[in-house]
Amino acid sequence: MRVAVIGAGVIGLSAAQSIYEQFHSIVSPLSIEVYADYFTPLTTSDGAAGLWQPYLYDKGNVQETKWNKETFDYLLSCLRSPDSIQMGVFLQSGYNLCTEPAPDPSFKDIVLGFRQLTERELQMFPGYNHGWFNTSLMLEGKTYLPWLMDWLQKRGVTFYQRKIESFKELAESGADVIINCSGMRSGDLQPDPELKPGRGQIVKVEAPWLKHWIITHNLKKGVYNSPYIIPGSRLVTVGGILQFGNWSEKNNSTDHKYIWESACQLEPSLKHARIVQDWAGLRPVRSKVRLERETIQSGAAAIEVIHNYGHGGFGLTIHRGCAQEAARLFGQIVEQKGEGPKARL
């Protein structure tokens, strides 16, 4: 079988990985090809800070919470692996701050050591009177993506730098199944009014004395529109912008000023941090993740597509759970096409 994955961000690469892991000894031959116009370090996943943390409340979307948890547990198990450093995964603790009392977040039982902030801790953050402390995981895209590509390359997965214009194009060239992980640009392949850009801008700085993330939440302004400071292994990501419908990937100086001033208020020591880089990216925001099969009729042929896009600002957080689900859907197609182990009896 020939599998074509569109997209080389964390979603595309991890989907390729899960499919390989589960089917390379079942389907023979199994060729997996990844097509993308951008590869690491230029993908959306590369710009993200890399903190595992879903939105505060899942609003009843238990499916996504399940995928988030699967991803967390998977990454936690990777910590003791000899590959952990090359994967870019490590533990980090930090503060989630609210300006008013709020219900506990949906992820409280998934992360480690979740607790309420004490009075003395809240005193460190004037203007915030409620919040939580917990230990979570970091997964740095700039490290994880190269590791994934290397993992895939060693197992015979091939990569093509090319913008795919249509599913038909790939089907005609012989792909049996297409995994659509095209993130923000999925609309180019198939219009989706629910998919909108959630533009973010960040500043990366050198501040190695900071070891905790500090994320503020303003329930009125909405998610990611409140300052956050997330230390990484080498640089600290400072942000706090989400602009719906803004397609610009250029850095904006007004946004920079807003981010920088509010972050320095939150963490005065930032005033002495060396600014390394500004970056803007488009979160592929959707009401919920689109992770489902679609059989597209193209003349006499039927094109099997598995959609896996619309992960908003939580792609790294949810990637493994989605990849495993995509592999499960792939398994259905394998059964249908009679390529599975049963077919061999």
Binding site: L79, S84, G113, L117, L210, K211, P268, S269, K271
Partner: protein, 339 residues
């Protein structure tokens, strides 16, 4: 009363903390700090500087609490300020883990640090050989930055600094009215106190920027402390050992013990190694020695001691410095009464 002249002997964290406390709180006295060695060559410089303590059964708990709280609160304000990076002071979260459940599950400082709690079962899974743990947030104070920052603060408060080896406190009684002895191990001769013993400690500094939490084994011997420019791992506790050379055996032992707590350390590069001698004593000595009478002119010179902090100098420096300040103040008032 004419200009009172105070001299502080010792340029480590205790010496500079004491000098700053006196200079900032007693603006009418002149304060001079004399040190043989300055940062980065003091004992304080190699210390990881994590604020943390073990209960000392020979010191009243209230006094230990007072010292620790004073140090913690003072440094916490610096950690939250713009000065944090220059002063080398930062918040640090992590875990103290025990192979056997300790008798005292909530030590005297547990309400003085931030967010102290017992570790959950899921958190303990990472440490299969340990059965109990505590999680909290404390302060890390890196003396290679903190001491130069304190020196700036001291000079701003009018303090004078001089590099000079002092062989005898008596030599200073001609030029000063109050002598504050913060000479650590040097007090063996300066205060004729042989109860101060070196406890040798070796540490390694590792390049492991992915480590964000401290891990401290309740045995007191094995620890991992991520800092601003590297992760300090250790250690050793060799009583009565004056050897300042880095020992290969100790390096291997430290790497083995720390890697079993944090396997990723086996893939970290060693940046440097260091040996320091903790100025250990049964209790830190913070007190006035009987007033030394000087033969000339019938003056009396007060000696205040502030030494013997063992391996918790950074943790107790500010608190004991404030205590020493109190003793200096009392002695100055006492002298006034005599005039």
């Amino acid at each position: 009363m004419g200009g009172v002249r105070v001299v502080v002997v010792g340029a480590g964290v205790v010496g500079f903390s004491t000098a700053v406390c006196i200079a900032e709180n007693l603006p009418h006295v002149s304060v001079t700090l004399l040190g043989e060695k300055f940062s980065p060559e003091t004992t304080s410089d190699g210390a990881a500087g994590i604020l943390f303590a073990h209960h000392n059964p020979d010191v009243p708990v209230e006094q230990q609490r007072r010292w620790f709280k004073s140090s913690f609160d003072h440094l916490r304000l610096i950690a939250q300020s713009e000065d944090a990076p220059e002063a080398g002071v930062m918040l640090s979260s992590g875990w103290q883990i025990f192979r056997d459940v300790p008798e005292d599950k909530t030590p005297y400082w547990s309400d003085l640090v931030l967010g102290f709690r017992i570790m959950t079962e899921r958190e303990m899974v990472r440490f299969p050989e340990h059965r109990f743990g505590q999680a909290f947030t404390t302060i890390k104070c890196e003396c290679s930055r903190y001491l130069p920052w304190l020196e700036k603060r001291f000079r701003r408060a009018g303090g004078q600094v001089e590099q000079r080896r002092v062989d005898n406190l008596q030599d200073l009684s001609g030029s000063f009215d109050v002598i504050v002895n913060c000479s650590g191990l040097g007090s063996r001769s300066l205060a004729a106190d042989v109860s101060v013993q070196p406890v040798r400690g070796q540490v390694l500094k590792m390049e492991a920027p992915w480590l964000q939490h401290f891990i401290w084994d309740g045995d007191g011997l094995t620890y991992i402390f991520p800092g601003i420019q590297g992760v300090t791992i250790g250690g050793t506790r060799q009583g009565g050992d004056w050897n300042l050379q880095v020992e290969e055996n100790d390096t291997r032992g430290i790497l083995k013990r720390c890697s079993s707590l944090e396997p990723s350390l086996t893939r970290a590069r060693i940046l440097s190694s260091w040996v320091g001698l903790r100025p250990d004593r049964r209790t830190p000595r913070v007190e006035v020695e009987r007033e030394v009478e000087v033969k000339k002119g019938g003056r009396s010179v007060t000696v205040v001691h502030n030494y013997g902090h063992g391996g918790i100098g950074v943790s107790l420096a500010w608190g004991t410095a404030m205590e020493a300040l109190g003793l200096v103040k009392k002695s100055l008032q006492g002298n006034k009464a005599k005039l």
